[in-house]
Symmetry: C2
Subunit: 247 residues, 2 copies
């Protein structure tokens, strides 16, 4: 079933009115007709509105709500992925995969070993593009919310951003942590809690960055005995959270 996102004010008691670019998509690309069923979400809460298309006008698609599916497809925890800025277009790929795997928020982080440097203009246009990728991936994987891609932060800003979260994990390949320790930390996470996951760029974190994170209450974890690329690391932790926490 096709899924569309609308803002909350487009959702009425019995109807939803779709406007904007989705109208053309429904009419001319999908060639949908009155009576066809679609799924609509407001992008911020997990409820899914199942609707029938009632009328298609020039600028609007009017839909009748059949029922609301409250049971979400969302991870039982809210995960923020703080991703050290990787090279070239890897960030796009990381966003796509993290959204598939249930991330709630992605914050790009300019760490000491990030090779990519973004001035503020570039950073803002990148953020827009990355947000679009998150929206497309959320639709594709039938997410109930659209994960937010935040502005690029410094390591210091990112640590501050994560400070109130219940669980703060930072994979570090130089750590002596065994998987048992990692399982133990992940095993303590409860439904409804917030989890921060920090991933270094290609060259990993600097030792002083790890020290600063540990001082802020972060726990180092291992990702197993092989060396993972930066784009594989965050996905691996998200997969573990699914495995540990879903019903």
């Amino acid at each position: 079933m096709y899924r569309f996102f609308v803002s909350s004010d487009q959702i009425h008691e019995k109807d939803i009115i779709i406007t904007g670019a989705d109208v053309n998509h429904i009419k001319n690309v999908l060639r949908m007709k009155n009576g066809e069923e679609i799924a609509v979400s407001n992008g911020t809460d997990p409820a899914e509105y199942r609707c029938l298309i009632r009328q298609i006008t020039e600028d609007e698609v009017h839909c009748s709500i059949i029922f609301v599916k409250e049971e979400g497809v969302e991870l039982p925890v809210s995960v923020t992925l703080y991703q050290g800025l990787p090279k070239s277009d890897k960030m796009e790929w990381i966003i796509q995969k993290a959204v598939e795997l249930g991330v709630s928020r992605i914050i790009p982080v300019a760490t000491g070993r990030s090779i990519v440097k973004l001035d503020s203009k570039k950073a803002s246009s990148k953020q827009d593009r990355w947000q679009q990728i998150a929206i497309a991936a959320a639709k594709q994987s039938k997410r109930g919310i659209i994960p937010e891609v935040g502005p690029v932060m410094s390591m210091k800003e990112a640590l501050k951003d994560a400070s109130s979260m219940e669980h703060k994990l930072i994979p570090y390949e130089m750590s002596e942590d065994a998987m048992k320790h990692t399982r133990n930390l992940i095993g303590q996470i409860q439904s409804g809690e917030q989890v921060a996951v920090f991933i270094g760029p290609e060259g990993g974190f600097e030792e002083k960055e790890i020290e600063a994170a540990c001082k802020e209450g972060f726990n180092t974890i291992t990702l197993g005995k092989r060396i993972l690329r930066t784009e594989t690391a965050g996905m691996t932790v998200l997969a573990w959270l699914i495995y540990q926490l879903e019903d």
Copy 2:
């Protein structure tokens, strides 16, 4: 440390002789000198030979073995990923990521919904290219073995290939399996056993393919509540095996 693969007959009691393309790489790209340390594996068993370069000739690099690191970086189980042929160059990416995450063998499978069709000539040249990608990824992630990329099989051949394995998992998005059931199945896997993981192409498996697999002793599993793309599915299962089985 740089890692090189040699065949077993190049490994002697106290010495290893590197030949072929790696010689040029060591001499002219890495510009290594006598006395530098390297890691050498034979690509089939997990032992890692730590060596010092003793002499560099036109065609050979002679190395003295310092010690053998028997403790491997390999997953405690042998995992074969049977991957439904995906579109475009996704297979390359899947191989790279699966090798990083510890796969032992990858078998491309021409399933009912695979859009890509390979004639035998194309399939053979693809297999060569895919094997090269596995070798590069094994070096990058410092694997002790080089995972084998097998020939393209039909679904029937693939099911037969997996028939003697202890654990046979097939994620199926239409299944009613809960994560608890999936955790239970993965929790039964013991070190040293063989695990077959079947992943459908973009359109998923046909129902009759799932039925055929179940008849051959496969268990369907869930990958969580979101829809994962084909290239994310195998990685997720590999990440779970790391989480469940590593020390």
